[in-house]
Symmetry: C2
Subunit: 354 residues, 2 copies
Amino acid sequence: MKKHNFSAGPSILPQEVLKKASEAVLNFNNLDLSLIEISHRSADFVAVMKKAQELVLDLLDLKDKGYSVLFLSGGASTEFIMVPYNLMKTDGKAAYLDTGAWSSKAIKEAKLFGEVDVVASSKDKNYNFIPSLYTIPSDANYFHCTSNNTIYGTQIKDFPETDVPMVCDMSSDIFSRKLDFSKFDVIYAGAQKNMGPAGTTLVVVKDRILGETGRKIPSMLDYQIQISKDSMFNTPPVFPVYVSMLTLQWLKDMGGIEAIEKINNKKAQMLYDEIDRNPLFIGTAAKEDRSNMNVTFLLADDSKKEAFDKMWNEAGISGLKGHRSVGGYRASIYNAMPVESVQVLVDVMKKLAE
Amino acid sequence: MKKHNFSAGPSILPQEVLKKASEAVLNFNNLDLSLIEISHRSADFVAVMKKAQELVLDLLDLKDKGYSVLFLSGGASTEFIMVPYNLMKTDGKAAYLDTGAWSSKAIKEAKLFGEVDVVASSKDKNYNFIPSLYTIPSDANYFHCTSNNTIYGTQIKDFPETDVPMVCDMSSDIFSRKLDFSKFDVIYAGAQKNMGPAGTTLVVVKDRILGETGRKIPSMLDYQIQISKDSMFNTPPVFPVYVSMLTLQWLKDMGGIEAIEKINNKKAQMLYDEIDRNPLFIGTAAKEDRSNMNVTFLLADDSKKEAFDKMWNEAGISGLKGHRSVGGYRASIYNAMPVESVQVLVDVMKKLAE
């Protein structure tokens, strides 16, 4: 029996993608060679990289709008360093919105490079909402935010209007909903939620904002060098990039972001409706800021824990445990999660209340 | 027909490793979940990481000798930055031996951090030998060298005796030959030659040399932080780490480095003997510095090129083209390359001469 995988990340991927990936490890493109034992400069892999980059621009509706697409390694945590290296002037400053553990880590790294203005934070409420009243200083070199907070189950619904370049860590909700992506100057995302396996990081960057800081940037951390080498300054993470390409192609074939957003909204609605209806459960995030990717909730009565855990385990559900800093449960319902799996969880929640 | 894969990297991996890796992408450890869709903090993956680290210490004979093992991402090129960040004092200097394109890139990055003393270089001979007469300044914070030069087919046979901490990029020959690895303070290696697929980098570091530079180090680039988090400061490259673990286990089961070194010596000898015997071929590297991993050679008479290329292609050989900066051919004969495949190439070379 295939599990209902609610893991927060690395997380569920489409079955057909896993099948193709598994085959490619044995024999890629009928080359009689494994995907992971051919040169990254071979025509077959260069085509994979190119296709992945095209799919990103296509899905985000950023074609011919002056953006470059990179598939790097090091995870989003390395972007916490690359962003200030590439965008913060040597005597400049940056503005950050603090909406959770990952924002907070990004802020910590940026402070190594210069002044950081934390424009707002929801830390004193354990990040259970998204601050909405704040001002971005017009002299900031950039404004950084985190679109979705996996741990706390919150998501930015409205992004600020600002003339300051906008950088967004979209690791946990990229490709899940329609946005005007051209409002952003840098978008980055670790692959391991909606895009692929752990091991590659997507960076989409507006070319014209680069090269302005006056800093000496180590080559591996320099967006301009990575762009000039088409993400192959050094050997890229071949397998993660390939699986990301397959997942992006799967999404495109499904009808793209518009189509998946409808399904995502439906899945989230099913769970939030049950949380709000069922007296045994309490949602942890402010209603207006609830994430459509990570649904966090507590049991109203902890004595039901054993029974609930037994029931969902028996139903074939995995990865439902909440993050230690919030407790309770977290249902991560990324793009690849079928409606049917969400229904299984809702049914268990209903049954517990009976 | 399975190809004879002489690719310089990413490169050949053992068939049984590819088979297990392919299976794990569909169903890992009978969890009814893919390896790439489970949490990196799950017991199943934590065990993979632990096993991989243990195998490294075991194979390199570094158990209980004060070393930590890291599986990072970003490739060896990121180590070009991490090494000076972690070892070069703010007012210090480092000594580098320049034996090829990769040494030269390492030097370039180190110069962003402070003074770099290039103790010797074979650049004016297109890196066709390993310099042996040089002095390592005793006040250097560390000495950096590259053990094997894939492009030029050279390999350091004797490492210097020095009191200066020794750092070695062993990307292309780690686990291929017995060395006293305890002579080194930092060993690093991109996985994609003898260890696994592209996407993870092995770092073996002597704990007591860290924390001495006075630099503020970004978290992702700080060996001490990575050690304290057991290579899971952020989500590690799960698939590349898993396949590396499988490959290290395969090597251990074969009898470890001692056993593979005998086979590697035999394979190299077969090719070098043929190059030296056959008037149609010319080796490019100085004999005493010839690599046992990458055998580089030219045709004595370029008019034979078409015939030779046709013959090895027809024999099922792939990846034999030399790097553009040397030309000719490069047979990469890493650990996973069977003696039989080398024999196929030798036979083609013999046949060309007939």
